[in-house]
Symmetry: C2
Subunit: 367 residues, 2 copies
């Protein structure tokens, strides 16, 4: 399917990635890191992926003010006007709505699409095909999400419950109505979901006409919509800083899923384009290890590590120039950074966030 | 028991300690390291322990020529004449015999005692009492060993089989005849040993009159004895270097256990003084962890490590100034040195030597 109209992509770039500590830090969050050894950071790869879809459109990055210089440094081709710096984090709805509102003022009632800055997608052709179909469906005033093929009963993701085909007579169309969204399930529930064949992972990708998004917001969250409109109006004027500083902190902190996707799905206004694209949210070291090739000893390596392994298949080593010997424990995780070292196993990868929580004030510099 | 005559102590300081890599290196072997966080290296602690027993006697250290400067640096009180530098390793018999022969030339037919440079003994009073008794027994021309109370059926040590009391009518005497020595047993055999109450660990401590030792050597290994005598005669003369360089490489490589202890025990010439003195040979990281106190999280720490533990009781961290987080695996071993990092578990501590073997020529500098 050709692109029916140019996409205006919005990249919310936030999140600390605490389960990837000490690789990911507050000052060097996941999206600013090259986690796949490709030479490009996750943010850069996100932009690379969107480039073919945004010809004639635009790409905006919404990020915390503290990360703005790093984002611009990594994406010199975008320019300052593509960067929307948040004074403080207000969750995804405010970020995406502001970018959509600014895009509408600049470009008219265009189709926007939000794509997280810190996910990995290995099959770009499948991604592009899914987004092209999503753009076409968005022109029919749906809020369109992309439903990732659920490879296993993950308890780390929310699920999209897909219903009837949107265009049953169109063989080329794969989009379906969305029955609803679910929170992260337990394993039993996730297993049931997979058995039905009707559930997809929610990767937070939303494609929608800017006007449709903002109308839904006005209906669901009128105060938030009004605040965003006020900021967007001032954005490309000298009043931006003053209005932003005054209004932004008053905006409701809510995710787009709760503010729009769930209530609008209940009204029949959300569609899903199913896709298998080698997607991963790189949620923890177990997931990250899977994305990296294993050496002859079965060890996955990221960065500059000279690894010696003896009986440690499936281990994952993030190096910082030293020789690292892993002995006797399959699935070890060793993350070797200049000021902090993490040792765990892939099985316990989710527990890493507790370590970050326990750093306390005396180790504030390591966050 | 008072010391019946001064002891002339011999400290063979050799062995790479490959199971303690990367802490222990060829250039910084176990005996040169402070492994207990006491502020004194194992070698220095060995000398400290022997000081009260060698008043009026002497202490000699036999070590590889490459380690001689470091040994003298750690033991400035000893002086160069206390150091016997081996041009190459010829095992313990040549080292101890040479030191004994030099001592006899310098001091007459004194009682010598050999004590490894890289063991830990926590109960010094018990050690001193055992050595005092051993010196008294050595005056009766026995080769006297000290038999360490076997706390568990270790397969890492040889055992001493104790027989009848040497002086059954002397209530103060604990020495026994030695029936024989055993090689390292399997677990079943070691368990049988312990059940009999007749077996003790062989820690390689031998106390014997110099003349007795050298006569046994002449009887058992005449070529070795002749070579040692030739070197000893030249030792305190200008001919030392020339003779040492010529004769030393020809000496048979054999341990004192095989050369003297075993055959002389078979002749009834060996006695054992049983003792419990908190002895440990610090053979691997599992053993080393036991010697160090655990923090509130149950983690044993050596060196400068800021440890964060979550579900890793019994772990052992050797630090080098960084924050180290250990998560989810009890008994982890993390040895963090400037150029090499080892991660394993205490259960696999013995496997560390295989890592050193696999370093290969490209990592020769890490040995």
């Amino acid at each position: 399917m050709p692109l029916t109209e140019p996409l205006h992509a919005i990249i919310p770039a936030g999140g600390a990635g605490t389960r990837l500590w000490p690789l990911s830090r507050r000052a060097a969050p996941k999206f600013l890191l090259d986690l796949t050894g490709s030479g490009r950071t996750l943010l850069q790869q996100t932009v690379d992926r969107l480039a073919p879809l945004t010809d004639g459109g635009s790409i905006s990055v919404v990020t915390g003010a503290v990360h703005a210089p790093a984002v611009l440094g990594q994406l010199p081709e975008l320019g300052e006007q593509s960067l929307l710096a948040e004074p403080s984090p207000r969750d995804s709805m405010a970020a995406i709505a502001l970018a959509a509102a600014v895009a509408r003022r600049r470009h008219g009632d265009v189709v926007v699409g939000s794509f997280a800055a810190d996910h990995v997608i290995t099959d770009r052709a499948a991604f592009e095909a899914a987004v092209r179909e999503a753009v076409a469906v968005a022109r029919e005033d749906y809020v369109v999400t992309i439903g990732i093929e659920a490879g296993h009963p993950s308890t780390a993701f929310g699920y999209i419950h897909a219903g009837e085909p949107l265009a049953p007579d169109d063989d080329a169309a794969t989009a379906r109505h969305v029955v609803g969204f679910t929170e992260k399930p337990d394993v039993a529930t996730a297993t049931e979901y997979l058995a039905t064949g009707e559930y997809r992972w929610n990767a937070g990708m939303f494609v929608v006409r800017a006007g449709v998004l903002l109308e839904h917001l006005a209906a669901q969250k009128p105060d938030l919509a009004a605040g965003v409109a006020q900021i967007a109006e001032a954005w490309d004027t000298p009043a931006r800083e003053e209005i932003l500083a005054r209004v932004w902190p008053t905006l409701e902190k809510i995710a787009i899923d709760h503010a729009i996707a769930e209530p609008v799905a209940a009204q029949g206004g959300v569609a899903v384009v199913p896709a298998a694209m080698g997607w991963d949210d790189v949620g923890d070291f177990d997931g990250l290890a899977e994305l990296l090739p294993a050496d002859a000893e079965g060890v996955h390596v990221l960065g500059d590590a000279d690894v010696l392994a003896d009986g440690a298949p499936g281990s994952f080593v993030v190096g910082s120039g030293r020789t690292v010997a892993v002995v006797g424990v399959p699935g070890l995780v060793v993350v070797d950074t200049p000021d902090a070292l993490l040792v765990t196993t892939r099985e316990h990868a989710q527990r890493v966030k507790h370590v970050v929580e326990s750093l306390g004030t005396e180790r504030e510099h390591l966050r």
